[in-house]
């Protein structure tokens, strides 16, 4: 994008007598301009020129010191600055302004009679935005003032746009966090089923394509799922909301998981653009039958630790991703899940960040971290989380979700 208008066009605008042709837009004409010159006559002359260009909001200063005070107090949009002045000169004013982040972008037009290239270079080195030749020519002055005010105006609009975009993203991020279980809901699940749930959710952009959930199905069964949509960022996050409203509208009745997931997948397929899908693991834990029944849609292999398998084991999780085709079929798998069992689920950022060919984290490491192989004290979930963070340098390049569901041994909890 090019912010700078062709000078010829701006010149013709500025040369036109006031009122005859459209001058600068109203918002630009309302700009505050500070004129700094030690000679009263020059200040008066500049005032007349600027007023003839439609600028009424003018401020004046007689030397560099006063200029800095006025700039701090009034925050003008543009400064027309003389070089030779008592107390503080123009070059020093420029340097002082550029050293202050608040005024580093303030347009400063230096009036100078300097005609050697070396002198002009020095003016720019001090931080001036542009120059106007002395003696001042009104057309040139108005043209340059017009260009720089327009630039400033556009930069402002851009930064306002960015700020409002950031505000929106923050709102969306809060919404995204709210589609996952709250502390209160997790507390209620813990009360009802004795299951303790720990989780970590982190997006690599402002928004992400991961989500997880856990909810009560009936007296004995707690449902759960973890999902990872293709891609990340805004598009992927929209898909998590789609999914959320889909499952909210079509609740699992607790009977036929295979048919239910096939239906969800078919619906997703019709909602998602071609090539977008989600990998997922979902199912329920039955506290009375002491089993977990789950459906895999190609999510990373969950890790199960139970009294029978103290060293843990990875559960198979191959299956068609949700929404990949209209006719995907799914197969329910069942494993024992007695008291004392834990299930660890994660999105593929854990094993794919940042280098897919040589991952920093792999299944061996997951097993080691979760079964006390790292000799770190604390809950296995906290151990693997800390270990992963230690090993990954810099920002994630995919969204990361980790969830651990633990049933206490009998008598505990």
């Amino acid at each position: 994008m090019n912010f700078i208008q062709p000078p010829s066009e701006t010149l013709s605008q500025a040369e036109a007598p006031t009122g005859a042709a459209p001058g600068p837009e109203q918002s630009i004409r309302d700009s505050k301009i500070l004129v700094v010159d030690d000679q009263k006559m020059v200040r008066e002359l500049l005032k007349i020129y600027l007023q003839s260009g439609g600028y009424q909001n003018l401020l004046f200063a007689g030397d560099g010191d006063e200029a800095l005070d006025v700039i701090t107090a009034e925050e003008p949009d543009l400064v027309v600055l003389d070089l030779q002045m008592p107390r503080m000169g123009g070059l020093e004013v420029c340097q002082t302004l550029r050293a202050d982040p608040q005024f580093s972008m303030l347009p400063v037009l230096v009036q100078t009679a300097a005609d050697s290239a070396e002198d002009r270079a020095e003016v720019f080195r001090s931080g001036a935005t542009d120059m106007v030749g002395k003696p001042i020519n009104d057309a040139e002055l108005l043209a340059r003032v017009g260009i720089h005010l327009q630039n400033r105006h556009m930069l402002r609009q851009l930064s306002h746009y960015r700020e409002s975009m950031e505000r929106d993203l923050q709102l969306a991020r809060d919404m995204q966090h709210r589609i996952m279980p709250s502390e209160r809901e997790l507390g209620a699940l813990n009360e009802k089923y004795g299951i303790e749930i720990r989780s970590h959710f982190e997006t690599c952009d402002a928004l992400g394509g991961d989500m997880w959930n856990a909810w009560p199905i009936d007296e004995n069964r707690m449902g759960f799922h973890i999902i990872d949509f293709t891609g990340h960022g805004v598009v992927a996050s929209l898909n998590t909301f789609r999914f959320q409203s889909l499952v909210a509208a079509t609740r699992f009745d607790g009977n036929d998981q295979e048919a239910y997931i096939a239906k969800i997948s078919r619906r997703l397929h019709s909602m998602l653009p071609a090539g977008q899908f989600a990998t997922a693991i979902g199912g329920y834990i039955d506290m009375r039958e002491n089993v977990m029944r789950y459906i895999a849609a190609a999510g990373p292999k969950p890790f199960l630790i139970s009294p029978e398998t103290p060293d843990g084991m990875f559960l198979p999780s191959d299956g068609r991703p949700l929404g990949m085709t209209a006719d995907s079929q799914y197969e329910e798998r069942e494993v024992a899940f007695p008291p004392g069992s834990s299930l660890f689920m994660y999105s593929d950022a854990l094993t794919e960040t940042p280098d897919m060919v040589n991952p920093v984290y792999d299944e061996d490491r997951i097993q080691l971290a979760l079964t006390g192989g790292l000799d770190e004290a604390g809950h296995p979930f906290d151990v693997i989380h800390a270990d992963f963070c230690d090993r990954v340098e810099g920002p994630l390049d995919d969204d990361l979700t980790m969830v651990m569901l633990s049933r206490p041994t009998q008598g505990e909890g």
Partner: protein, 101 residues
């Protein structure tokens, strides 16, 4: 990712190497276009030199499958190795796009 497109008799063959990820999207689209423009009735994507694929890469293969179906071209994949083979098996892509020897 890098690629080569060759025409052999009645089919067109695409060889992919490197990584098939989100950043290969544009290149992959162009390759698929030149392959379908060749006007042959089948198209084979050779994956034996492909080192890795992510979910966006899987998405692109599915997208290519949709596109070729619409123009009545038979699409198949050939020779996935290592991590690529694992991912294709895990996501059961072979049930959607045939994998030939």
């Amino acid at each position: 990712m890098s690629n080569a497109v060759n025409v052999h008799g009645d089919h067109v063959e695409i060889t992919l190497s490197g990584e098939l990820t989100f950043s290969s999207y544009k290149e992959f689209q162009e390759v698929m276009k030149s392959a379908t423009d060749a006007g042959k009735k089948s198209c084979i994507i050779d994956l034996s030199a492909l080192q890795s694929i992510d979910s966006a890469g899987i998405g692109m293969l599915l997208f290519a499958n949709d596109e070729t179906k619409q123009t009545n071209i038979d699409l198949s994949l050939r020779g996935p190795q290592g991590p690529v083979k694992t991912v294709l098996e895990h996501t059961k892509i072979n049930e959607v796009i045939p994998i030939v020897a």
